[in-house]
C-alpha cells in the first residue's frame, strides 16, 4: 500500500510499504477512505517531537471501511463504515473505566519510554512517534486499529466522509476544550488560535451556552472564518499593543470568564519574549514556546478557567504562576478523551446542530501529501485544513 512516511525535518514522502495485518485478537483493519493533516502533525513535521524514526508512517485523523476483524472483536464487523479516534484505549483499565480514555494504561507498547520522557505513559496515538507507541498512522491506504470495539464509531450512510471525518480528532478536541471551561449560560469565552481546533472550540462554546466568544489570531483568512462560520468577535493581535489590555477593555474591565489556549507549544508572537523563547529553544534550554499560555493566564478573569487543548511536550519558562494563584484560576488540560465524546457529537451532526465541513480549505490526493504539509505549515494559499483521499 501507499503511506506517508517521515524522513526528517520538513521531509515527508509517500512510499510503497507492506499492508497492515491483524497482530492481536482485538484488532481490526481499515481501508481508509479519507484522512486529514492535523496541526499537531506540524510539530512532527518541524522536528519538535522526539522519538520519531525515519520511515514512520504519520497520520491520526482517518476513517474508512472495516475489511478484517480479529477473533475477539464483537461489536464491529467487516463492511462497517467507521471513524477512528486518534487515541487508542483498551476500555478495561482504571482510566478507561473513569472515561479518561486518553490516559489508558494498556495501549502504549513503549510505555517505558513515555514514562522517562513525560513522567507517565498515557494512551497510544496513531502516527505520533515512539513515545506514544510508534503505531503506524492513517495517512495511508490501510491501517490496523487495536481495541476496535472500544474505539471505532460506526457512521450512517447519509453522512459524507467530510461531515464525519473530524470526529476522529479536532471536533471532540475543540468540544472537550469548551466543556473544560465550565461554561455557564451567557459566559464570555476567549479562544487563542483560529486553526481547526480553535474553530471547533468556538463553535462548541456556543453549543455549550456561551453568551459571547472572542477569537484571537493574526492570519486574515482564519479570523474571517472565525467571524463568518463560527460567529465569533475577532481580535488580531498584531493590530493591538497588548492583547491582555484589549481583552479587559472588551469585557468591561473584568476579563473573559474562560480562556482556551488552542495554540500550544509552537506559538508565535511579536513580543521580545518570543525571541528569548526561540533562542532558548535553539540552545535546548526550553522545549516549548508558551507565549499564549502566559497571555491566557494574564487575561482570564479572577476565579475563571483556563482550558488547554494546545499540545505541550516539554518545559516552559516564565509562566506567571503568581498571577494564576492570585486570581484563583482553574486550569484544565490534556489530550482528548475521544470515546467519551464521539457518539454524542455524531448525534449533534445528525441533528444539524453543526456542519464540520466548513473547516476544509484543501482537498488533495494522498500522493500530494508532501505539498499538503508544506502549504498547511506555511499557511499558504489561505490553507486552514487539508483533507486527503488515498
Amino acid at each position: 500500500m501507499k503511506a506517508l512516511c517521515w524522513h526528517g525535518k520538513r521531509d515527508v514522502r509517500v512510499e510503497r510499504v507492506s499492508d497492515p495485518e491483524i497482530l492481536n485478537p482485538r484488532d481490526a483493519i481499515i481501508r481508509i477512505t479519507s484522512t486529514a493533516i492535523c496541526g499537531s502533525d506540524l510539530h512532527l513535521y518541524n522536528g519538535y517531537i522526539l522519538g520519531l524514526m525515519e520511515g514512520d508512517i504519520l497520520g491520526h485523523e482517518f476513517m474508512g471501511e472495516v475489511v478484517e476483524v480479529g477473533t475477539e472483536v464483537k461489536r464491529i464487523k467487516k463492511g462497517d463504515r467507521v471513524v477512528v479516534p486518534f487515541t487508542i484505549s483498551c476500555g478495561q483499565c482504571f482510566f478507561c473505566k473513569e472515561e479518561l480514555f486518553s490516559l489508558c494504561d494498556n495501549s502504549n507498547p513503549s510505555a517505558g519510554i513515555a514514562e522517562k520522557a513525560l513522567g507517565s505513559s498515557a494512551a497510544g496515538i496513531y502516527g505520533y512517534s515512539h513515545i506514544f507507541g510508534g503505531y503506524a498512522g492513517g495517512q495511508a491506504e490501510y491501517a490496523r486499529v487495536p481495541f476496535a470495539d472500544v474505539g471505532l464509531l460506526p457512521v450512517p450512510p447519509e453522512l459524507t466522509d467530510e461531515q464525519v471525518l473530524f470526529l476522529s480528532d479536532i471536533f471532540p478536541t475543540g468540544y472537550m476544550a469548551a466543556e473544560n471551561c465550565n461554561i455557564r449560560q451567557g459566559d464570555t469565552v476567549a479562544v487563542w488560535g483560529c486553526g481547526p481546533v480553535g474553530q471547533f472550540s468556538i463553535q462548541s462554546a456556543w453549543l455549550l451556552g456561551a453568551g459571547r466568544v472572542i477569537a484571537i489570531d493574526r492570519i486574515p483568512e482564519r479570523l474571517e472564518m472565525a467571524r463568518k462560520h463560527s460567529h465569533a468577535e475577532t481580535l488580531n493581535y498584531t493590530e493591538v499593543d497588548n492583547v491582555v489590555e484589549a481583552l479587559f477593555e472588551l469585557t468591561g474591565g473584568r476579563g473573559p470568564d474562560a480562556c482556551i489556549d488552542a495554540v500550544g507549544m509552537e506559538s508565535h508572537s511579536t513580543s521580545p519574549m518570543h525571541y528569548v523563547d526561540r533562542a532558548k529553544q535553539a540552545m535546548m534550554m526550553e522545549n516549548d514556546r508558551p507565549h499564549v499560555l502566559r497571555e491566557v493566564i494574564q487575561s482570564c478573569r479572577k476565579g475563571g478557567t483556563v482550558s488547554i487543548p494546545g499540545v505541550y511536550s516539554g518545559l516552559v519558562d516564565h509562566i506567571p504562576m503568581g498571577i494564576a494563584f492570585n486570581k484563583g484560576l482553574t486550569m484544565r488540560m490534556g489530550q482528548t478523551h475521544m470515546q467519551k465524546y464521539m457518539k454524542r457529537l455524531l448525534d449533534r451532526i445528525q441533528r444539524g446542530e453543526i456542519d464540520p465541513t466548513f473547516i476544509i480549505t484543501h482537498r488533495l490526493k494522498l500522493d500530494e501529501a508532501s505539498q499538503g504539509y508544506d502549504i498547511f505549515c506555511n499557511k499558504e494559499d489561505e490553507c486552514i485544513k487539508v483533507v486527503m483521499t488515498p
Binding site: M1, A3, C5, W6, H7, R13, E15, V17, S18, D19, P20, E21, L23, N24, P25, R26, M53, E54, G55, D56, I57, E72, I88, C90, G91, Q92, C93, F94, K97, D105, N106, S107, N108, P109, S110, A111, G112, I113, G124, H130, G133, G134, Y135, A136, A140, R144, P146, F147
Partner: protein, 260 residues
C-alpha cells in the same frame, strides 16, 4: 576506568600481589571481550573527547576478556573463575522491587494464574520457555544480554494461597536468584496490587550488569516492563504491540524501539 584505592587493594599489594592470575570466569571473559570491543569502537567512533574515556574503558575490558585477569576484581576480592563462582553469595546481589495495580482481577485470580508457572512465559519478554518438572520445580530458558541463553531450575520455597509465592534457583544456577510475588487487595477494595521482589546475581557479575545496562537490558527495566505486560494481559486481554506493522523505507536502523 575508576581507580580502586580501597583498603583491600592496598592490602593485596602489600602482600606482594597475585601476579597476573586468572580471576575472571570464562563466561564473564566473553562478556568483557564483547562489551569491551563495542565500547572501544563506540568511543573511537564518537569523535568526541568523552569518547576517549569510553574507548579506554572498552580497551580495559578487552584486556580483561583476553587475559582473564581483572585488577578491579582483584581489589574487590572477587574470583569468578573458581568453581561454583557463579553461585555468588546473594549478599552481593542486585535487588529489584516493583509493584503495579491491576484493576479488574482479584488476588485469587492472579495467584492462580501465576501459580501455574508456565503461564509466566506469556508476558515475560525475555523468557523463552518454562517447563514444570513437578509441583514445586520448574526449568527456565531465558534470553540473556549479548544474545546468550541462560537456563536454570527454580523451586517454590514458600506459598500462601492467594497471597504469596516465593521461589529461588537451585543447584548451580547460572543466574542465582530468589524472588517473591505478593497479591493484595487494591485501593477501595478494587483490583489487586502485585508486588514483585527479586534478588539476583547477574551473569558475569556486577560488571556484566553494568554492560547490560548500556545495551538497555537492565533488570529494573525488565521487571517493570514484564509487570506492565502482565497488567496489559490481565486487564485488556492482550499485550499491546506494533511488531510486524508496516513501515517506510529507511537506511539501517541502529536502534529498535523497545516494546513494553
Amino acid at each position: 576506568m575508576e581507580t580502586i584505592t580501597s583498603q583491600s587493594s592496598l592490602a593485596h599489594s602489600a602482600e606482594g600481589g597475585h601476579g597476573q592470575n586468572i580471576n575472571v570466569g570464562s563466561n564473564e571473559r566473553m562478556i568483557s571481550l564483547l562489551g569491551g570491543g563495542v565500547l572501544a569502537l563506540a568511543g573511537l567512533a564518537s569523535g568526541r573527547k568523552s569518547g576517549i574515556g569510553l574507548a579506554i574503558l572498552g580497551t580495559g575490558l578487552l584486556y580483561r576478556g583476553a587475559t582473564g585477569h581483572c585488577s578491579m576484581y582483584q581489589a574487590l576480592g572477587i574470583n569468578s573463575a573458581e568453581p561454583h563462582a557463579s553461585r555468588a553469595s546473594l549478599n552481593e546481589g542486585i535487588k529489584v522491587e516493583k509493584s503495579l495495580t491491576i484493576q479488574n482481577k482479584s488476588p485469587e485470580e492472579l495467584f492462580q494464574f501465576w501459580r501455574n508457572l508456565e503461564n509466566l512465559a506469556q508476558f515475560m519478554e525475555h523468557v523463552e520457555s518454562i517447563h514444570k518438572i513437578d509441583d514445586k520445580r520448574s526449568h527456565w530458558v531465558v534470553k540473556g544480554p549479548a544474545g546468550r541463553h541462560v537456563e536454570w531450575d527454580a523451586e517454590i520455597i514458600n506459598e500462601r494461597e492467594n497471597e504469596l509465592i516465593a521461589w529461588r534457583t537451585v543447584e548451580d544456577a547460572e543466574v542465582a536468584h530468589a524472588g517473591s510475588v505478593r497479591f493484595e487487595k487494591g485501593p477501595n477494595g478494587q483490583g489487586t496490587v502485585v508486588r514483585v521482589s527479586l534478588l539476583y546475581s547477574p551473569p558475569a557479575g556486577k560488571l556484566g550488569a553494568a554492560i547490560a545496562k548500556l545495551f538497555g537490558e537492565e533488570p529494573h527495566i525488565q521487571v517493570q516492563q514484564d509487570l506492565r505486560r502482565f497488567k496489559m494481559l490481565m486487564e485488556s486481554g492482550e499485550i499491546a504491540t506494533t511488531k510486524g506493522q508496516p513501515h517506510g523505507n529507511s537506511p539501517i536502523r541502529p536502534f529498535s524501539g523497545r516494546e513494553a
